[in-house]
């Protein structure tokens, strides 16, 4: 049941990503070539996001977010696949520094959840470090239960809020 809802969330997240990628690559958004430019175009055509940007990270990783079971900071196989894709991107973009946010659902007390969110962010950070991302490039921050993304008081909302998010600067 919980596995199912996690997958559903990931699917929702991926479709949102796909939509985002479409709008970003819309050709009519490109500026016209400068007047007077002649000769062969020496720069390769690239309609994707700027390399090393947040958009690039989101377009080339499985997700920026992993989800946790209740009161847990365990990284499961699904999380590992996501973090592996993040690690690959981070290794390929060695100058990018990231912040890893840890979040909790509302069913814990405020202070405990600050500690639990920190545990989750560290679990993600430690996994990325083991995959070759230098710890000095990663900052962890816990928001406890103070920054939910889903506003409901139900199992589906709680599942979305128990998360660690890898944030690349804009």
């Amino acid at each position: 049941m919980i596995q199912f809802s996690k997958t559903a969330i990931l699917l929702t997240a991926s479709s949102a990503l796909a939509l985002g990628a479409c709008s970003r690559s819309a050709p009519e958004d490109l500026p016209p070539p400068p007047v007077g430019t002649t000769g062969p175009d020496t720069t390769p055509t690239y309609s994707g996001p700027t390399p090393g940007s947040r958009a690039d990270f989101l377009a080339n990783t499985a997700s920026d977010t992993i989800f946790f079971e209740t009161d847990s900071h365990d990284i499961d196989p699904e999380d590992r696949a996501i973090l592996d894709s993040q690690a690959a991107w981070l290794v390929a973009n060695p100058n990018v520094r990231v912040t890893i946010e840890g979040h909790c659902d509302e069913r814990g007390t405020r202070e405990y959840n600050l500690a639990l969110g920190e545990r989750r962010a560290n679990a993600a950070s430690n996994y990325l470090a083991a995959r070759g991302v230098s710890a000095s490039r990663m900052t962890v921050i816990s928001y406890g239960k103070e920054r939910p993304i889903a506003l409901g008081s139900d199992a589906a909302s709680w599942a979305q809020n128990r998360r660690a998010v890898t944030v690349v600067p804009m």
Partner: protein, 454 residues
Amino acid sequence: MVFRIPSLSAFRQLVLGLCLAALGSAAAAQDDAASGPIEGDVVGGISNPTSIAIPDMPTPRAVGTPAGNTEDLGRQVARVIEDDLRNSGFFNPVARQFLRDVNMPQVTAPEYPAWNQVGAQNLVQGYVQAGSNGRLTVGCYLYDVFAQAPLERAGYEVDYADWRRAAHRCADMIYARLTGEGAYFDSRIVYVAESGPKDNRVRRIAVMDTDGANHRFLTNGQSIVLTPRYAPDGQTIVYMSYQNNEPRVYIYDVASGQQRLLVNAPYMTFAPRYSPDSRYVVFSMAVNGNSDIYRVAVSGGAPERLTNTPGIDTSGSYSPDGSRIVFESDRSGGQQLYVMNADGSNQRRISFGGGRYATPEWSPRGNLIAFTRLGGGFRIGVMRPDGSGERILTNSWQDEGPSWAPNGRVIHFFRTPRGNSLPSLWSVDVTGRMVRRLPTPVGASDPSWSPLLD
């Protein structure tokens, strides 16, 4: 600020006799409470609140002051006293349409038969006078209507701006005399004011008088702020802020409005609370996913580590004598309450019920520990420091974060409804019978009670 009002030479003897009589009736009330379903060392109850009349206070001379005309102030002081006493749950103020006008000579010579007729057991009279020294004097007299005798009297001299404090102190005097409990009205609350939707909440530290008056914000809402706690000396507030995207504990100086970082470390510091002498702060620090409890001198210096387990140790709170600390830890699996000596030695678990236990706060009396119990919803409860005598006081979706009144008899906490709604502040007394919402201008969480002001 308090002075004796000179009059009635035989007053003290009279008071002594009546005081003994009052103690007798308080003892009878305690017996009633003990026969009820809730155990505990509580005197009194609300099954039969005391009927008390609080007529408008006259003034010897109607004078304009920066706080208003003394005639108006006389009316307002009486209403503040009435609200305090009603909200305590111990008193049933006589309805205003039954109150009589009182003139200055009657303040010290009450018309007992008339007050008896409106059903008042006790009577509060007084006066408000503008002094030549630019200060306000409030005289406060408590009478036993049945015995037709004075019980207690006091005078309070305050700056005009502090006129409400004179009213609170009068109410405190009456409350203490008639219930046998410690005073608590003349105090303040610091809390987190919350506004906006759940996923974009603005949080500001705010302070207000215990009755909600004199409200002001201390921070502007640009950074997330959490868990403010008053120092026992009332001079500073310790809290957590996400300033510069670094969640750290700060100390805020109430008089100057200046704040400073408590511990300079590259880790999250949180869950701060003062020691009873205001010299130390016990707090948690999260190092690479492991949260332990530390203490540090308010004046500075290196933090001293008090717990050392791989679990989450947090929410430390000192006993009032400073010798012990109660805290929560998930070292046994889920969150449970533990007590240790103030140096970290002799850590032992005190909570063993079903579910989880969190956010303990030691009563200023020392006899009880308030906590949040999780399981289904969140509920506020109390237990003795050895873990015995557990009682659950509230029942709602999420009641969290208990904080004791200075008299150790009333607990504030915050209640969060299901869904995308704002939390609010509530109070409950240690019997669990008197539950009341506190007025705040916006949503509110993390209340912390100041000491009695002086």
